[in-house]
Symmetry: C5
Subunit: 355 residues, 5 copies
């Protein structure tokens, strides 16, 4: 969980547009897949060098360049030259510490946001990955930090030609990629919801410091998710309202749909936050209750035995003249008195509902 800008400061002093990869290197190798498709045909190539991509441009069909691994600055620079990207766009793609945003450069639209990975089987933290998408008139460039199955369903649809994807333009492809990432958020939230439920149950059973740390950990993850997803709402909203010729009218209704999903994600995060706050309250008051419980036990014991011990102490004094000591039934009378004191104390606690 990258909670704060890392190595961001290494850029201080460099001119804007200076290309430096910021973030951890998550992929071993850069992998570039190129898809050229229209309704009737599909060409799919894995390329090694960008010179192979020289014919990428100027095709009548849609071209999707999918790039995994962004640590090789020069490859991105070349790609930027081929597709005519502004240096600041290339800089932003390289900087994995971006806030979700959308920038309309006229000839292309650049958008960046986060995808999350949290494998169900691992008790690991959520890891995030930065996804950059560049939408041009007939091309889409997608940038991921590492190779993953994230866009597999889209690739599947490109290959099989099911649905509208192959019949639609580049904007619909860009939408599909965003939609896939947002759909992914739901899976993440479901897993977090299950975690919250587990912590809730452990809280009901036995509120321990471990519960507190789990709550705090979840709260922090919510802060992290919220920070990453909140601006996405505005981003997709401005994409939907955009009057760019790059986006066709018919895609608008789909963008509205993914916009609604984003709001739903944010709503769920807020609900989780409220639930976690409530759990914190329960934790804190259960701690108080337990302290009450402990002190109650102490008080009961002390209140019963202190008077008794005092009485025993009195008849343990060594005064010459203590008439009770001579009485044959004195000892038993004192024992009876002690029992009476103890019982009346206990009756008092019963009345006070401490027992």
């Amino acid at each position: 969980m990258a909670r704060r800008p890392k190595k961001r400061s290494s850029k201080a002093g460099l001119p804007p547009g200076a290309l430096i990869h910021i973030g951890e290197r998550l992929a071993e190798e850069i992998k570039i897949s190129v898809y050229h498709y229209d309704e009737f045909s599909l060409e799919e190539i894995d390329i090694k060098t960008l010179s192979e991509c020289q014919q990428c441009m100027g095709r009548p069909a849609v071209t999707w360049v999918q790039l995994s691994g962004i640590h090789e600055v020069h490859i991105l620079e070349e790609l930027g030259t081929i597709f005519g990207l502004h240096p600041l766009t290339v800089e932003d793609i390289l900087n994995t510490d971006q806030r979700p945003k959308l920038e309309d450069f006229g000839e292309y639209i650049y958008t960046v946001f986060k995808a999350f990975h949290n494998h169900a089987d691992q008790n690991s933290e959520i890891t995030s990955e930065q996804i950059s998408i560049v939408l041009g008139p007939t091309f889409v460039l997608s940038f991921q930090e590492k190779e993953s199955d994230l866009f597999k369903p889209v690739i599947e649809r490109v290959r099989t030609g099911k649905g509208r994807l192959r019949k639609s333009g580049a904007d619909y492809l860009a939408y599909s990629l965003i939609d896939t990432v947002v759909d992914n958020y739901f899976a993440l939230l479901e897993r977090l919801g299950e975690k919250i439920e587990l912590v809730e149950e452990s809280l009901a059973a036995n509120p321990s410091t471990a519960s507190l740390h789990a709550i705090q950990q979840l709260k922090r993850e919510m802060i992290f998710l919220r920070k990453s997803i909140w601006p996405l709402r505005e981003t997709i909203g401005s994409l939907e309202r955009s009057e760019s010729p790059l986006i066709q009218k018919s895609t608008g209704v789909f963008l509205k749909d993914v916009y609604d999903h984003t709001i739903q994600v944010i709503d769920t995060i807020e609900t989780f936050r409220d639930m976690l706050s409530g759990m914190l309250d329960i934790y804190l008051s259960s701690i108080s209750n337990r302290m009450n419980e402990i002190i109650k036990v102490l008080t009961i014991i002390a209140t019963i035995f202190m008077p008794l011990t005092f009485m025993a102490g009195v008849y343990g004094m060594n005064f010459k003249y203590m008439p009770e000591l001579e009485w044959p039934w004195g000892y038993f009378a004192v024992l009876a008195l002690m029992a009476a004191v103890a019982l009346s104390m206990m009756a008092y606690f019963k009345k006070k509902k401490w027992l």
Copy 2:
């Protein structure tokens, strides 16, 4: 109480418009009732197959298709084809995890929101049901997750012809359905208000952990209601301000009315939330007070008996030369001294208002 998206993730990777029923299957069978009416006539049919509905369209009168149970994807698909719904609309109807929203598709308006069920006699949780309404020029389609009495009053008005309903168009019918659901919220809030009052009384009588859990449970229900109802306000607001030709001028004043009711519902929820916060404060401070009470008892007992036990201990020592032990009235003098110490301690506590 469905607190978070369930099975929503099962859609990940599917193309948009993919029709999957998301949510629990609440109804055994799908029930379809069709009402054709105008001011003078009413035709009411329960249909089994949608082929019977082929004549549903193209009638001069208003047609209301009421559908309970939405788990059969193919029926909804067919219906969508008959009434010309966008695939995304059908997808949204099937997905019971929607946030209240309104979408104007030009030829029809689609709106979705929640109804709540909470039977007074059961101590059960609130259950929510998703209501979808499609308003076309001469038809209204309403979708419920299960068969219920929710729209019974509207059906009654359709049958008896009382009020404006039969004299007005499809937009008034859609308004009546929304109004019925919002009216239902008031009943729910009254019941919640009674619950809050009960918890409040139990809190005044004896603040137990059960009270805390009841407060937290109510707080959570408020979060849930708030999340479900809050966006409805905006939805109805945009319906009221809508310039769609599907909504007649004369219906506007009624929509304003239901808009006001929604705000009132939200206001009440906020008031309940504030009341619950106040109750939590009272609970917490009553816990503190009780701890104070317990510690006070402990302190009083310890403060009285510790000095006395010490005195008894002193005269229990076995020194050869202890003059007091020889005094004939020594024992009684010590007893008197002990009584004096105990009484002065109690006077001190009286002064401190601990007794």
Copy 3:
């Protein structure tokens, strides 16, 4: 203090515009007073049946119909017919559970808000009453739930002809009524301010559970007032900005004035809320302080007497060979040692500022 909709649910299922009185019946009888006035003349009649009011309309002068008690549905229905009110307006007048609002029906403006009663001599809760005002071209209808002195000053001004009232139109009369109610809020707030001060003093003197309940009670009243008055601000604001021909330019400056007063009322409520929060903090920390105090006493007593009792216990042992017991000055030496221990303990507490 009607904290939540009462019997509001009894309307569920009824068509909009269905006339049902919602709320408690506060007045025994409905009282209707009619005032016809212009700058030069005044006619004042108490009527029993509305047929007497048939001539109410169509007069050149201003007509004020003041109605106390709104439980008789048929009277309001008739009145609605005479003055041409929309059924929804009559429904709103009957429903005493309204949120302050303003509705411009073109021919008339309908506004509804709350007045509060809290007699200084009674320690009673605040009671609220719903005031509805209908402003037509030459008439004002005012509806109160019960007979009260609330509008007495306005009646006085109508009768004496002092000020602008008799010289101005119906809109100025409507303004005067609103102004009177808002002025009334100040009196209420002053009384609440005095209550807050009393609680504050009792908190400084002796923070008891009674103080806590008083604070919570006041907080709740603030929530109640806030909920009732907050929307009034917007209501009067929209009246001021209204371009309705029913409101003359010259009245605008007066509406601005009453708008400012409403903001001032809201400001004061917010200030009171902040003060009550501060008082709650003081209460809670004084509880903590007292617990500290109690535990300190316990600790001092225990810390002094436990070592002493132990020492007494040691010399109370029955070992055959215990040299100290034989020493003639042993007893006094032990007493001296005990005194030394006690004094050094006390010195330690003195140093720690616990004594």
Copy 4:
């Protein structure tokens, strides 16, 4: 510190524009100073009766009427007549319980806000005074509740002719008065900042109930200041944006400047509020810490002496057959055992870092 409307309710029932002085009478006598000036000349008169002011109007130069003490209703009424003020303006000037606001009456602009007095040498509360300013085409009327040095610097500049004041119009004079009051806020905030620092130091040294009350007192003063200054921002903002012909273009940049200062004042108040919240947190947790400390001492003492006392008690029993009692070194063995127990307890506490 006038925390709530005082005697405001005495206006209830009076017609709007009714002139009543609301607030305490702070000045003995009303003092009226009149300044007529242009770039080249200055005439300064102290007048007793307003008849002397008949020539105040219609002068080509700027006229500044400075009035201290506003309790004499008839004087303000007369002044209002001379300068053509609306009755509501005069009413507002008399009512010292105003919220800062700006009203543009076309012929003149009326603005009202608060000045604060808090003498450094006194430990007294902050007192506030209401300042009303009326800006006409060639005149400025300023109203203060009492005679003070507040506007002395402006008078000085009028007299000496330094700066732009004498060369500019009435709007610049009005600006100068507002600027002087806002500058005054900085002095007040500096003094409050010093107070906060003192409390902070006393909190670090010894967190007592006195610290808590000081924090709460400061918090309350912040609420009071905030309530008084917050609306000023909007007031000056609307003055700056105003298109009134009474304000010249060249004055705009100065109004922007004083607007910035107001925001800075509000910022500082918010920062102080945050600091006070942090101090409250520190206070509360230091209380907790101290309780921990006390309980720790108690626990250590009890845990060491209870076992020892028990052991002494065992060998104080009077059983016939207790072999240890006969051993010659029994007593010393027990003493050694006791020492061992005590030492191991202390080692345990050392390990737990309680000692």
Copy 5:
């Protein structure tokens, strides 16, 4: 860390535009460097008197006057005259207590904000410095409170001619200066993030009062940063949206970039605030937990030894007739009973999970 206006009150009573240096004098001497450059040439001079700068104006190339140290009022006054600055601008440059803001004077744009210094090797507080920038058609004036390396990278780029800087106009230079300062914020935040992590670790290891003070200190620094940086967002935003002819179209995209960075900085500050709040919660509940721990030890000890001591006390009584005392195995029976009581108590605590 200058937390509140210092000496700001010394301006009270002075006319606006009065030139007084407010703030500490951070530099020994004023240092003025002038850079004249275009794409092909660079002239760099350190000047002593401003008369040398008379030719600064009217050059075709870009002129950058970099001034460190602003305590000499007359130098700034002269500079203002040379470059035609409004007196209020000069006043604002001198007043180091400004809130970030932007003012467009038509002929030039004035902007002011804060830079922060926090050397990694020192455990010192953050110090802030006010940066003023004046952007004219062909010149940029930059004002710093002291000589520092802050703008070194920009000077480097001016000297080497790398990047766009030398090819672009004065607006790009101004942008570069702002960008450098914002880049600096990232370095600061990274250092603060490391501090937070350290405190977090020390909190997990051993939550001491030192941790609390560290948290509070960091919280305060966040308040301070937030107050300083928050308005910068709006400032850069309005620069970006500005339609001033001083800013070329091509610079817009770079301003958007620095705007995004500012939002990212603010986001990070908010995240840190949330993290610190969570840490405070953890601290407070760990204090509670520890108190629980201590009280538990006390209760266990007391609950075990009080009954035992009582039993020893009983057989220490001196009654003549106590049958048990005569039994030969009495002593051992009692010891066995005592052991049984102690063990059952411990079993009870084990069951309660206190041991």
